[in-house]
Protein backbone atom coordinates (compact mmCIF):
# COMPACT_ATOMS: atom_id res chain seq x y z
CA UNK A 1 0.00 0.00 0.00
CA UNK A 2 1.54 3.33 -1.02
CA UNK A 3 2.11 5.96 1.63
CA UNK A 4 1.93 9.73 1.32
CA UNK A 5 5.64 9.86 2.07
CA UNK A 6 6.40 7.38 -0.71
CA UNK A 7 4.36 9.38 -3.22
CA UNK A 8 6.11 12.59 -2.20
CA UNK A 9 9.54 11.03 -2.63
CA UNK A 10 8.68 9.56 -6.01
CA UNK A 11 7.34 12.85 -7.36
CA UNK A 12 10.40 14.71 -6.06
CA UNK A 13 12.69 12.14 -7.67
CA UNK A 14 10.89 12.32 -11.01
CA UNK A 15 10.42 16.09 -11.27
CA UNK A 16 13.74 17.74 -10.44
CA UNK A 17 13.54 20.61 -8.02
CA UNK A 18 9.92 19.94 -7.21
CA UNK A 19 8.58 20.89 -3.84
CA UNK A 20 5.89 18.38 -2.98
CA UNK A 21 3.29 17.94 -0.26
CA UNK A 22 1.18 14.80 -0.26
CA UNK A 23 -1.77 14.12 1.98
CA UNK A 24 -3.50 10.78 2.46
CA UNK A 25 -7.10 11.96 2.31
CA UNK A 26 -8.69 8.95 3.95
CA UNK A 27 -5.80 7.34 5.80
CA UNK A 28 -6.47 4.26 3.72
CA UNK A 29 -3.45 4.58 1.45
CA UNK A 30 -5.48 4.93 -1.75
CA UNK A 31 -6.88 8.49 -1.91
CA UNK A 32 -4.22 11.17 -2.06
CA UNK A 33 -3.89 14.88 -2.68
CA UNK A 34 -0.61 16.22 -4.01
CA UNK A 35 0.49 19.83 -4.22
CA UNK A 36 3.50 20.11 -6.50
CA UNK A 37 5.53 23.27 -7.06
CA UNK A 38 8.22 23.17 -9.72
CA UNK A 39 9.93 25.48 -12.18
CA UNK A 40 9.63 22.57 -14.62
CA UNK A 41 5.98 23.54 -15.03
CA UNK A 42 6.83 26.91 -16.57
CA UNK A 43 5.45 27.29 -20.06
CA UNK A 44 3.33 24.15 -19.82
CA UNK A 45 -0.45 23.99 -19.76
CA UNK A 46 -2.21 22.86 -16.62
CA UNK A 47 -3.10 19.66 -18.46
CA UNK A 48 0.56 18.96 -19.21
CA UNK A 49 1.56 19.79 -15.64
CA UNK A 50 -0.93 17.32 -14.21
CA UNK A 51 0.13 14.68 -16.74
CA UNK A 52 3.73 15.05 -15.56
CA UNK A 53 2.60 14.15 -12.06
CA UNK A 54 0.32 11.33 -13.14
CA UNK A 55 3.12 9.92 -15.31
CA UNK A 56 5.24 9.34 -12.20
CA UNK A 57 2.82 6.58 -11.22
CA UNK A 58 1.68 5.20 -14.55
CA UNK A 59 -0.96 2.56 -14.22
CA UNK A 60 -0.83 2.68 -10.44
CA UNK A 61 -3.25 5.60 -10.74
CA UNK A 62 -6.64 3.99 -10.99
CA UNK A 63 -5.13 0.85 -9.51
CA UNK A 64 -3.58 0.85 -6.03
CA UNK A 65 -3.71 4.65 -6.06
CA UNK A 66 -7.44 4.94 -6.46
CA UNK A 67 -7.50 8.71 -6.59
CA UNK A 68 -4.77 11.32 -6.89
CA UNK A 69 -5.96 14.90 -6.67
CA UNK A 70 -3.35 17.28 -8.05
CA UNK A 71 -2.62 20.96 -7.64
CA UNK A 72 0.36 22.30 -9.56
CA UNK A 73 2.11 25.63 -9.21
CA UNK A 74 5.00 27.02 -11.16
CA UNK A 75 7.87 27.87 -8.89
CA UNK A 76 10.82 30.07 -9.61
CA UNK A 77 14.04 28.80 -11.09
CA UNK A 78 16.27 27.62 -8.27
Amino acid sequence: MPSAQELKQRIEAAIPGASVAVEDLTGGGDHFRAVVVSHEFAGRSRLEQHRMVYDVFGEEVGGPIHALSITTQTGREP
Partner: protein, 134 residues
Amino acid sequence: MTEETSPIRDAIQKAIDDHEVILFMKGTPDAPACGFSARTVGALQALGAPFAAVDVLPDPRIRQELSAISSWPTIPQLFVGGELVGGCDIVTEMYETGELAQALGVDAPDAAPADPPAAEAPDPSPMGIENRLN
Protein backbone atom coordinates in the same frame (compact mmCIF):
# COMPACT_ATOMS: atom_id res chain seq x y z
CA MET B 1 -8.95 -7.32 -30.49
CA THR B 2 -6.47 -4.84 -31.90
CA GLU B 3 -6.44 -1.17 -31.02
CA GLU B 4 -7.36 -0.21 -34.55
CA THR B 5 -10.57 -2.19 -34.62
CA SER B 6 -11.89 -1.61 -31.11
CA PRO B 7 -15.57 -0.75 -31.57
CA ILE B 8 -15.71 0.70 -28.07
CA ARG B 9 -12.82 3.03 -28.76
CA ASP B 10 -14.42 4.07 -32.03
CA ALA B 11 -17.72 4.78 -30.27
CA ILE B 12 -15.98 6.83 -27.60
CA GLN B 13 -14.04 8.82 -30.20
CA LYS B 14 -17.26 9.45 -32.13
CA ALA B 15 -19.01 10.61 -28.96
CA ILE B 16 -16.14 13.04 -28.30
CA ASP B 17 -16.27 14.29 -31.86
CA ASP B 18 -20.06 14.61 -31.96
CA HIS B 19 -20.54 16.57 -28.74
CA GLU B 20 -19.16 20.04 -28.16
CA VAL B 21 -19.10 19.40 -24.42
CA ILE B 22 -18.96 15.85 -23.11
CA LEU B 23 -18.18 14.53 -19.66
CA PHE B 24 -17.08 10.97 -18.97
CA MET B 25 -17.98 10.26 -15.37
CA LYS B 26 -18.82 7.65 -12.78
CA GLY B 27 -22.58 7.52 -12.50
CA THR B 28 -24.93 10.03 -14.08
CA PRO B 29 -25.36 13.79 -13.58
CA ASP B 30 -28.37 13.20 -11.34
CA ALA B 31 -26.75 10.29 -9.53
CA PRO B 32 -22.96 10.70 -9.55
CA ALA B 33 -21.22 7.64 -8.14
CA CYS B 34 -18.05 9.43 -7.10
CA GLY B 35 -17.30 12.72 -5.35
CA PHE B 36 -14.95 13.88 -8.11
CA SER B 37 -17.58 13.30 -10.78
CA ALA B 38 -20.20 15.05 -8.62
CA ARG B 39 -17.97 18.09 -8.21
CA THR B 40 -17.29 18.32 -11.93
CA VAL B 41 -20.99 18.03 -12.77
CA GLY B 42 -21.67 20.73 -10.20
CA ALA B 43 -19.27 23.14 -11.91
CA LEU B 44 -20.84 22.57 -15.32
CA GLN B 45 -24.35 22.93 -13.98
CA ALA B 46 -23.45 26.07 -12.05
CA LEU B 47 -22.52 27.66 -15.37
CA GLY B 48 -25.69 26.38 -17.02
CA ALA B 49 -23.65 24.81 -19.76
CA PRO B 50 -25.33 21.98 -21.63
CA PHE B 51 -23.24 18.86 -21.75
CA ALA B 52 -23.46 15.23 -22.75
CA ALA B 53 -22.52 12.70 -20.12
CA VAL B 54 -21.28 9.14 -20.37
CA ASP B 55 -21.25 6.79 -17.41
CA VAL B 56 -18.05 4.72 -17.55
CA LEU B 57 -19.11 2.27 -14.85
CA PRO B 58 -21.32 -0.18 -16.78
CA ASP B 59 -18.35 -1.58 -18.70
CA PRO B 60 -14.71 -1.32 -17.54
CA ARG B 61 -13.60 -1.28 -21.16
CA ILE B 62 -15.08 2.22 -21.59
CA ARG B 63 -12.64 3.58 -19.03
CA GLN B 64 -9.71 1.63 -20.47
CA GLU B 65 -10.33 2.79 -24.01
CA LEU B 66 -11.05 6.36 -22.93
CA SER B 67 -7.76 6.59 -21.07
CA ALA B 68 -5.98 5.12 -24.09
CA ILE B 69 -7.45 7.90 -26.25
CA SER B 70 -6.86 10.74 -23.82
CA SER B 71 -3.65 9.64 -22.06
CA TRP B 72 -5.40 10.63 -18.85
CA PRO B 73 -5.64 8.04 -16.10
CA THR B 74 -8.57 9.17 -13.99
CA ILE B 75 -12.30 9.79 -14.21
CA PRO B 76 -14.00 12.24 -14.71
CA GLN B 77 -12.70 13.62 -18.00
CA LEU B 78 -14.18 16.70 -19.65
CA PHE B 79 -13.83 17.27 -23.38
CA VAL B 80 -14.71 20.51 -25.14
CA GLY B 81 -14.54 20.77 -28.90
CA GLY B 82 -12.97 17.34 -29.13
CA GLU B 83 -10.09 18.21 -26.81
CA LEU B 84 -9.47 17.01 -23.27
CA VAL B 85 -9.85 19.90 -20.85
CA GLY B 86 -8.98 17.91 -17.75
CA GLY B 87 -10.27 16.08 -14.73
CA CYS B 88 -11.94 17.24 -11.57
CA ASP B 89 -9.00 19.28 -10.25
CA ILE B 90 -8.48 21.22 -13.48
CA VAL B 91 -12.19 21.77 -14.10
CA THR B 92 -12.64 23.02 -10.54
CA GLU B 93 -9.66 25.36 -10.84
CA MET B 94 -10.92 26.66 -14.17
CA TYR B 95 -14.37 27.19 -12.70
CA GLU B 96 -12.95 29.28 -9.91
CA THR B 97 -10.82 31.41 -12.22
CA GLY B 98 -13.55 31.90 -14.82
CA GLU B 99 -11.59 30.00 -17.45
CA LEU B 100 -14.22 27.28 -17.58
CA ALA B 101 -16.98 29.69 -18.52
CA GLN B 102 -14.69 31.07 -21.20
CA ALA B 103 -13.90 27.60 -22.54
CA LEU B 104 -17.59 26.74 -22.62
CA GLY B 105 -18.59 30.04 -24.16
CA VAL B 106 -21.03 30.94 -21.41
CA ASP B 107 -21.26 33.95 -19.12
CA ALA B 108 -19.31 33.57 -15.92
CA PRO B 109 -21.31 34.08 -12.75
CA ASP B 110 -20.65 37.51 -11.24
CA ALA B 111 -19.14 35.98 -8.15
CA ALA B 112 -18.25 32.35 -8.51
CA PRO B 113 -18.33 30.63 -5.14
CA ALA B 114 -15.11 29.06 -4.01
CA ASP B 115 -16.65 25.63 -4.39
CA PRO B 116 -19.08 24.64 -7.10
CA PRO B 117 -22.51 23.90 -5.68
CA ALA B 118 -23.54 20.30 -5.35
CA ALA B 119 -24.94 18.66 -8.42
CA GLU B 120 -28.55 19.54 -9.10
CA ALA B 121 -31.10 17.86 -11.27
CA PRO B 122 -29.62 17.46 -14.73
CA ASP B 123 -30.59 19.44 -17.75
CA PRO B 124 -29.75 17.04 -20.55
CA SER B 125 -30.24 13.34 -20.37
CA PRO B 126 -27.00 11.45 -20.02
CA MET B 127 -26.05 9.76 -23.21
CA GLY B 128 -26.14 6.03 -22.66
CA ILE B 129 -23.10 5.10 -24.67
CA GLU B 130 -23.09 1.64 -23.16
CA ASN B 131 -26.41 0.93 -24.82
CA ARG B 132 -25.01 1.73 -28.21
CA LEU B 133 -22.10 -0.60 -27.74
CA ASN B 134 -24.06 -3.78 -27.31
